[in-house]
Symmetry: none
Subunit: 196 residues, 2 copies
DNA sequence: TTGACAACCACACATTTGTGCGGTAATATT
DNA sequence: AATATTACCGCACAAATGTGTGGTTGTCAA
């Protein structure tokens, strides 16, 4: 069943409130947010939301609103596959979401699925998800996502004088040397692998 | 500051309650869980937890307990060491917690910090956390946690006739062959790595 | 001994909060 | 015209819940 405009607003407020405060709002807190002077009005909306199975109201309990369709807070977008070995195109496509712990879910972080085995020596395998914090600079030896031309790669970052070297971790591949025209997308801060 | 045994129990209960119900418990709910007939007793503990910055108490609000160090319910224990003969995890051998997505947080799962590089060829490095689902059987070729003698190891599982072979993924190590007296603790279902 | 702390009890009190019941008004559907 | 739906108000009441004060007991360190 569809929600009305007002019901959607109220549901959204409950979700936000619960996320920020760790507990859902009371009837009167909802009322004051929407300038509803009567608790009955709020209850009408809660009843409607409960009838449509968006929330559940636990009788007699304070803040007894249970969100039934919970929006996950610590999920980050998975960008399209990146190419760790052979060249390829980086897509801006968001390819779903992946759940991570808060330790990895910092601002502007996203996940990328690894393709190829050019970093196998560093324990990064095809199909792994690398978690990336977006930043444009990085330190010697860190594993980064970099754009060279229009291809994105996972490589270890090294600077030698003016040159920037993107170093694979697999003897079958050669380092990419550039004069500095490399755009760093971000730093790899974590890795998640799922075994079947 | 350190928590006392009782305070830790209460904090844990609040976290669990909040995870299950979407809101923290009331003072009296905590009291009834721990058979404390006086609300004052509970408040003593809450004051202690607040003084030690584990929670925050919002005055005048029902369920006004705010968890400051939030551990979402999708956190699983990190096993410190696995002891021979002990079924499952002994609580005294838990070495903290790690946050994982729901996909990895199934029942009876725990994490284990990898020591050594015997599985480096499979992209499992020292310091990685492997996520383990407890089970006593497994399939050909799966990566498992097994007890040989009184030590737990991460190895690839193979069966050859009557023999069970625990196979490392590093040519510097030799496979462990046994006649079947291996106890399988669980199967590796995921891997999490943190880069500094 | 004194003092600090953890852990508990008892109870009264005020406030917060959910509940029940009865209204009004606008709009659309039958 | 009758009925249903959405969206409101107002108020009294009871239950849930946080607050305040004053106790007891035991342990541990100065």
């Amino acid at each position: 069943m569809e929600l009305t405009e007002k019901q959607r607003e109220i549901l959204r407020y409950i979700e936000e409130f619960a996320g920020e405060n760790g507990a859902p709002p009371t009837i009167r807190e909802i009322g004051s947010r929407f300038s509803l002077s009567s608790t009955g009005s709020v209850r009408d909306h809660l009843k409607a939301l409960a009838a449509k199975r968006y929330i559940e109201c636990i009788p007699g309990k304070s803040r007894g609103i249970k969100l039934l369709r919970k929006t996950r807070l610590s999920s980050i977008p998975v960008a399209g596959r990146i190419v760790a070995g052979a060249p390829g195109l980086a897509t801006e496509n968001i390819d779903g979401e992946i759940e991570v712990g808060e330790r990895l879910a910092g601002r502007g972080s996203f996940a990328l699925r690894v393709k190829g085995d050019s970093m196998a020596g560093a324990g990064i395998q095809e199909g792994d998800y690398v978690i990336v914090h977006q930043q444009s600079t990085c330190e010697q030896g860190e594993i980064v996502i970099a754009m060279t031309g229009d291809e994105a790669t996972v490589k270890r970052f090294r600077r030698k004088g003016k040159k920037i070297i993107l170093e694979p971790a697999n003897p079958a591949y050669s380092p990419i040397e550039t004069d500095g025209d490399v755009r760093i997308i971000g730093k790899v801060v974590g890795l998640i692998r799922y075994y079947k």
